[in-house]
């Protein structure tokens, strides 16, 4: 009986994970790609106008091939897109948008501290990511993905977020200690 129950839960969990997750991460992949158009990095970060826009993924990759498919053939001005997957924090060299996987939830503070003021737009769907000093957090609300933005964090890293993007997002602050 218990076993049966466990199996049912597992199956339903799997089902829940499978289809909504697929569509959810598809949407998130598009969002990650779209951010490039509403964010400006300091000029020093792109010495070459043809330098690719690098979207990095730190930790376990939940996006699968969605992101690769989304950016395939796309350009931001002259710049093509490039996807990089990082295992270690030290792997991160030139990067414009960094998606921090849920798998790194425990290390978020450490990661953000390590990135310091580097002009990298940090994005994650981890709990309270924005409040914890991340720049953009994906929040799932009634099957819709909403954005939460920590403007101070972005400003600190010299990353400019378009007011249009701010319009559709919820602005949060890092609580003062």
């Amino acid at each position: 009986m218990a076993l049966l129950k466990a199996v049912t839960v597992l199956t339903s969990a799997l089902l829940f994970v499978q289809s909504p997750r697929a569509s959810e991460y598809q949407v998130k992949a598009v969002f990650l790609f779209n951010f490039a158009q509403f964010v400006e990095w300091p000029a020093v970060a792109t010495p070459d106008p043809q330098m690719p826009v690098i979207i990095g993924i730190l930790g376990e990759d939940p996006l699968g091939t969605f992101l690769d498919e989304t950016v395939r053939g796309e350009r931001l001005g002259l710049r093509p897109f490039e996807i990089r997957r990082y295992r270690e924090l030290t792997d991160i060299k030139a990067c414009n948008i960094l998606f921090i996987s849920r798998s790194e939830n425990e290390r978020v503070a450490e990661i953000l501290a390590a990135l310091g003021k580097r002009p990298i737009l940090t994005v994650s769907d981890g709990d309270d990511f924005a409040k914890r000093g991340g720049m953009i957090e994906f929040v799932t609300d009634k099957n819709r993905i909403r954005l939460r933005i920590n403007l101070e964090a972005a400003q600190a890293a010299n990353v400019t977020i378009s007011s249009k993007l701010l319009r559709v997002a919820e602005i949060v602050r890092t609580p003062r200690r």
């Binding site: 779209n34 158009q37 509403f38 931001l76 819709r144 909403r146 993007l165 319009r167």
Partner: protein, 489 residues
């Protein structure tokens, strides 16, 4: 229009031309207004759509319906905006305006980009893109075209008002200016009519200027002048002619008067003469009868006492008195012819001539004379008098052929110059043409009584009768070659 007065024709032409120009101009104005307005409206809608599209990039990029709805709801401030919608990259509707828009207002899927008029709406699809090449979705927007029809109505009203005012002005101008052309023509026409109806050629048409109409007026006036001169000349001629006719008429009347007086005097004298001749002849008969009667008594009762010489003398007295009686009878006949009343009728001359010939042959059966009477001769006249004429002429012919071995007398007629001429011809003694005018005188004889007996009254009588009938008589002849008498009636 053909029979319109020139004034109206000119005004109508002016109005027609200006009306055509005005209508074309107004039509161009309205068309330009409408086309321009449609273009303006299209570009305005495009601008508005581009602003909306620019604002809705983030909403589309991050699938934020609430934001999208809010952006579209700004359209409520423009009452002409009918509907709008935002489609995402995959063509799904993210948000609509109005929020609860019915399905027929919003196309199910985006259509090709661009703006077009669909019925009473202007609709457009515009891409929503952030940056140069990143298409995020499509904005649909629809506006009603009331503004266009309002603009059309307004420009139409303006055009009609302008048209009306301009036409009124054109009419006023035409009415004022047509006089420059029509006034000289009307003046000419009036003068021409007056001149021809009143026959007053002293009229002159007034001149208005030195243009072609002025030339025409001059020529017309010159023509009138010439007609007037000619008319005066004609009148002078006519007056002179009338005067001359009057003079001649007066002269003629004088002469007529004189002639009448002469004729009356002549008639009176003639009548007197006739009366005298008649009474003398009549009165002469009684003593003549006494002379003859008593001479006969003497011869019968006293023959023995007279002796041969006495008887012979008495015989001569008797013969002379008998000749005188015949003479008197003839004179009485002549006088009677003049006095007798005329009764005109159709007379068969041929028949009459035959009767006379029969009578002649009966009284003198010892003479053989050939008479040739043409048949069917007729004339209009007094039969008694015409019998005297024929009797005289035929007896003359019979008489003067007495010495001819084959005597012949002919009565015929010839047509000459359209008139009928009767002819009595014989082959007798004839006469000398030198004495032809004496033939018809009283007591005028070309032969002695011994040669041919006669009194010299017969032909005079004949001529009187012919003259009384309004005819003419004449004779041709030569000695021993016969004589021919012609007469008309």
């Amino acid at each position: 229009m053909r029979d319109w007065p020139i004034k109206r024709k000119l005004t109508a032409i002016f109005l027609l031309i200006s009306g055509l120009v005005l209508v074309l101009t107004s039509a161009a104005f309205v068309t330009y207004q409408v086309v321009t307005f449609r273009q303006t409206m299209r570009s305005n809608l495009a601008t508005r759509a581009q602003i909306l599209a620019a604002n809705s990039t983030a909403a589309l990029a991050f699938a934020n319906e609430a934001d999208a709805r809010e952006i579209l709801s700004a359209l409520k401030y423009d009452p002409h905006m009918v509907a709008a919608a935002l489609y995402d990259r995959d063509g799904r509707v993210l948000a609509t305006y109005p929020v609860a828009a019915s399905a027929d207002l919003i196309p199910a899927a985006p259509q090709p980009d661009g703006y077009r008029f669909e019925g009473a709406r202007l609709v457009g699809f515009t891409p929503v893109a952030q940056g140069a090449n990143q298409r995020l979705g499509t904005l649909y927007i629809a506006s009603d075209t009331k503004a266009v029809s309002d603009a059309l109505r307004l420009s139409g009203i303006i055009a009609i008002v302008v048209l009306a005012i301009a036409l009124l002005a054109a009419y006023a101008l035409a009415a004022a200016l047509q006089g420059r052309i029509s006034a000289p023509i009307l003046a000419l026409a009036e003068t021409a009519t007056a001149a021809s109806t009143r026959q007053d050629y002293s009229l002159r048409a007034p001149k208005f200027g030195e243009d072609e109409l002025g030339t025409l007026t001059d020529a017309f006036n010159q023509m009138l002048g010439r007609i007037e001169e000619q008319k005066q000349e004609l009148q002078q001629h006519a007056t002179r002619l009338e005067q001359r006719v009057a003079e001649r008429t007066e002269e003629l009347e004088h002469r007529n008067e004189a002639l009448r007086r002469n004729a009356a005097e002549l008639l009176a004298a003639n009548n007197e003469l006739d009366a005298f001749a008649y009474s003398v002849s009549h009165d002469l008969r009684a003593p003549l009868r006494s002379i003859d009667g008593f001479s006969q008594v003497l011869l019968e009762d006293y023959a023995t006492q007279l002796g041969d010489a006495g008887r012979d003398s008495l015989q001569r007295v008797r013969a002379a008195s008998q000749r005188m009686a015949t003479l008197i009878d003839d004179l009485l006949k002549l006088a009677r012819v003049t006095r007798a009343e005329m009764r005109t009728e159709r007379v068969d001359l041929s028949g009459m001539a035959r009767d006379i010939v029969v009578d002649i042959q009966r009284t003198t059966p010892d003479r053989q004379v050939e008479f040739a009477i043409a048949p069917g001769l007729e004339a209009q006249g007094d039969s008694r008098l015409l019998r005297v004429v024929l009797d005289n002429l035929l007896r003359n012919g019979w008489k003067y052929t007495g010495k001819q071995p084959q005597p012949r007398v002919e009565f015929a007629a010839v047509d000459e110059n359209g008139g009928r001429v009767f002819v009595v011809r014989d082959n007798g003694a004839g006469f000398d043409m030198r004495y032809a005018d004496k033939l018809f005188g009283v007591f005028q004889r070309l032969h002695s009584a011994a040669e041919f007996e006669g009194t010299g009254v017969g032909l005079a009588t004949v001529r009187r009768i012919i003259t009384r009938h309004g005819g003419r008589i004449w004779a041709e002849g030569a000695v021993d070659k016969g004589a021919t008498f012609y007469f008309t009636l």
